[in-house]
Symmetry: C2
Subunit: 390 residues, 2 copies
């Protein structure tokens, strides 16, 4: 997919032995930009730089490397991040402070700046309107597939396009399970408006994904909008349609992150209803999604509703057992305090064998609900994270 | 070990196919008793009954079954728990309300009351002063070994003995990772005094263990003291010595629980220093102890300090990287913002290969500290919990 006025590329510069490891996404004109970053108290140099720079609300693009996260590298690491952005800016004829930067990979190692500089010259030369899939390739770590998505809407006779790329929890360099996503649009929108849209969209998409309950030092989501569509100011119904397009792209990418979690064999959607309030609904859904016992049961295809009740109880969620209902893969396995029969259990087990499964819980305590995406916990997750030695 | 005035037994009554599954611990005279129970919002019938009964501060003993947790069984389950206690009380000549009860095993199934009643008659007949190890056998689920410990102290010319049995996270009936511990002493102590000692001891022993971050619906710790030692009222230095003996037994059992965690290959002690306050120190230690990335690294013998910093950051712990220090198996691998060299890494890797390992982190933010015991996360943990299908 092409988004007018945006070009991208992905090249191999030598941070990783073979695979593409350097991506560039650039707007032909200064774009409005909004960013959302990790809430970890330990963050990489790229995060420090980006947090500072997105405040202006304007940028020409972002340069991203995989294979080295530039975390715990001190003042020298911050200088490297700034130099990397400057080199990328120079290569596309932008001012240094107009370029953002993101890094993912091993912690505690310096960026190989010489390789990055020469790689950037090639990346700039290869920038192309259809280059986003190559950028998606270059930001992968152990992701098993590159993640791209796009959507478009008509607003006041103009077509607005949104496209995005993302990477998930890769552990070939196992210090880090970084989540990166970059969304671009030709919409005309103010930075303040973009910030609001991005914050709301992230809350319901990227922030609804968990693979192993960890938060990376480098999580970054950026949304660029360069105005090439020439639409009028966004707001009201038109703004809602634009936000829906951004949400569509973000949700597709978020689901792909969960589907491609480390060692995952299944995409799991957890839906909780009947909570006393939205915070408790979300806590309940995250509790289920992060429970080792639930995740290993899904890996084993076991319709184990007992573990779901157990982890809700452990998480101090208000559960009214007499009114609670648990559905696995669409089959009710526990309702009104009573386990469903053996036939239901067998039907649920068949459903759990599929690549996409739903866990639905009605708590019976109120009216609030929440949804979270996750994956199962497999022996491969342990193997990947145990056998690799830095 | 024998504790004067206490007798115990363990028999097979047929809840499980073969192994002992019914334990009885009884005092010849009414004993003072204190209890600590799960804080889960979903609890079993035994917990409901015990919470009510320990309030009196007096009991003659406890009957415990493994193989069926009697959780999510409604009003009938509560009746079963009461009947089980009554049958045990009758068998030893106590009043029904003097008997406590605990159950561990699969969720959502009724207790086989006929088998339990006939088992109890045999259990009562086999009660013996040296029977605690047999009780420890009978409360196991997938624990790979039975857990007993004892200690004694001299108080005012009298010898006080404390002995205890415990079970950890067994998953042959995989709905549950119940922690049960029963401690008995011949000390003379008031129920109020016992409660205070037990609460303080639990905080630093059983509450410092985590295998997979889950809390069972049936966790129970009971401490009985029958006064047979004839000591004067406990308090001051004598009370401190008694509390230390209880703590010694509880700590030995707690460490055994972590050592014998589901699929565990290593006992891991996590020590955090330099936190801003005790709550943050504990949060940091638990964050490390529950991190899948840290636990899989320990399983792999990988001195991966990056994952430790990552999970502290994700847990919003205040880390001053410039003053932070990480020691693995006694070897400093990260200090003052700088990774230690390759030689240190290799030494740490050798240390991590041993059956007991220490993770020590100095946060550099304050003076508070905390300690937690855990185990590594192995492919066997996933296999055990995935392959068993209820």
């Amino acid at each position: 997919v092409r988004v007018p006025g945006f070009r991208a590329s992905g090249v191999h510069c030598g941070i990783k032995p073979r695979a593409p490891d350097l991506a560039l996404i650039a707007s032909d004109v200064p774009a409005a930009v909004a960013g959302v970053f990790t809430r970890s108290t330990v963050v990489g140099a790229a995060i420090e730089l980006c947090r500072e720079r997105v405040r202006s609300g304007r940028a020409r693009g972002v340069v991203v490397n995989s294979g080295c996260s530039n975390v715990a590298t001190g003042a020298a690491g911050l200088r490297d991040a700034r130099d990397m952005a400057s080199a990328a800016a120079r290569a596309i004829g932008a001012a240094p402070e107009e370029m953002l930067v993101a890094s993912t990979g091993v912690i505690g190692r310096r960026l190989p700046m010489q390789r990055i500089r020469s790689g950037l010259r090639r990346a700039a030369a290869e920038l192309a309107e259809d280059g986003l899939p190559r950028a998606a390739e270059a930001i992968r770590t152990t992701d098993t597939f590159a993640k791209c998505a796009h959507a478009s809407v008509r607003v006041g006779g103009r077509r607005l396009t949104v496209a995005g790329v993302a990477k998930g929890s890769g552990m070939i360099e196992p210090d880090l399970a970084t989540m990166l996503a970059f969304l671009v649009s030709d919409a005309a929108a103010s930075p303040a408006y973009l910030r609001r849209v991005l914050r709301e969209v992230c809350r319901e998409s990227f922030n609804r994904v968990t693979v192993d309950g960890e938060t990376s030092t480098s999580d970054t989501v950026l949304l660029f909008a360069n105005g090439r569509a020439g639409n009028a100011e966004l707001g009201g119904a038109a703004g809602a349609r634009f936000a829906a397009a951004v949400a569509e792209v973000a949700t597709a990418l978020a689901r792909d992150l969960a589907r491609d979690g480390e060692g995952a064999t299944r995409l799991v959607t957890v839906r909780v209803r009947g909570a006393r309030n939205p915070a408790e609904a979300e806590r309940a859904a995250r509790r289920i999604a992060n429970s080792l016992l639930v995740k290993t049961a899904v890996f084993g295809g076991d319709p184990n509703w007992g573990r779901i009740l157990q982890t809700l109880g452990a998480g101090r969620v208000a559960v009214d057992l007499a009114r609670c209902e648990v559905r696995l893969a669409g089959v009710t396995v526990f309702a009104r305090g009573i386990p469903a029969g053996e036939a239901a259990r067998r039907r649920a087990a068949r459903g759990l064998a599929k690549p996409e499964v739903e866990i639905e819980v009605a708590l019976g305590s109120g009216r609030a609900q929440a949804r979270v995406w996750t994956c199962d916990l497999s022996t491969d997750y342990v193997r990947i994270n145990a056998e690799y030695t830095t």
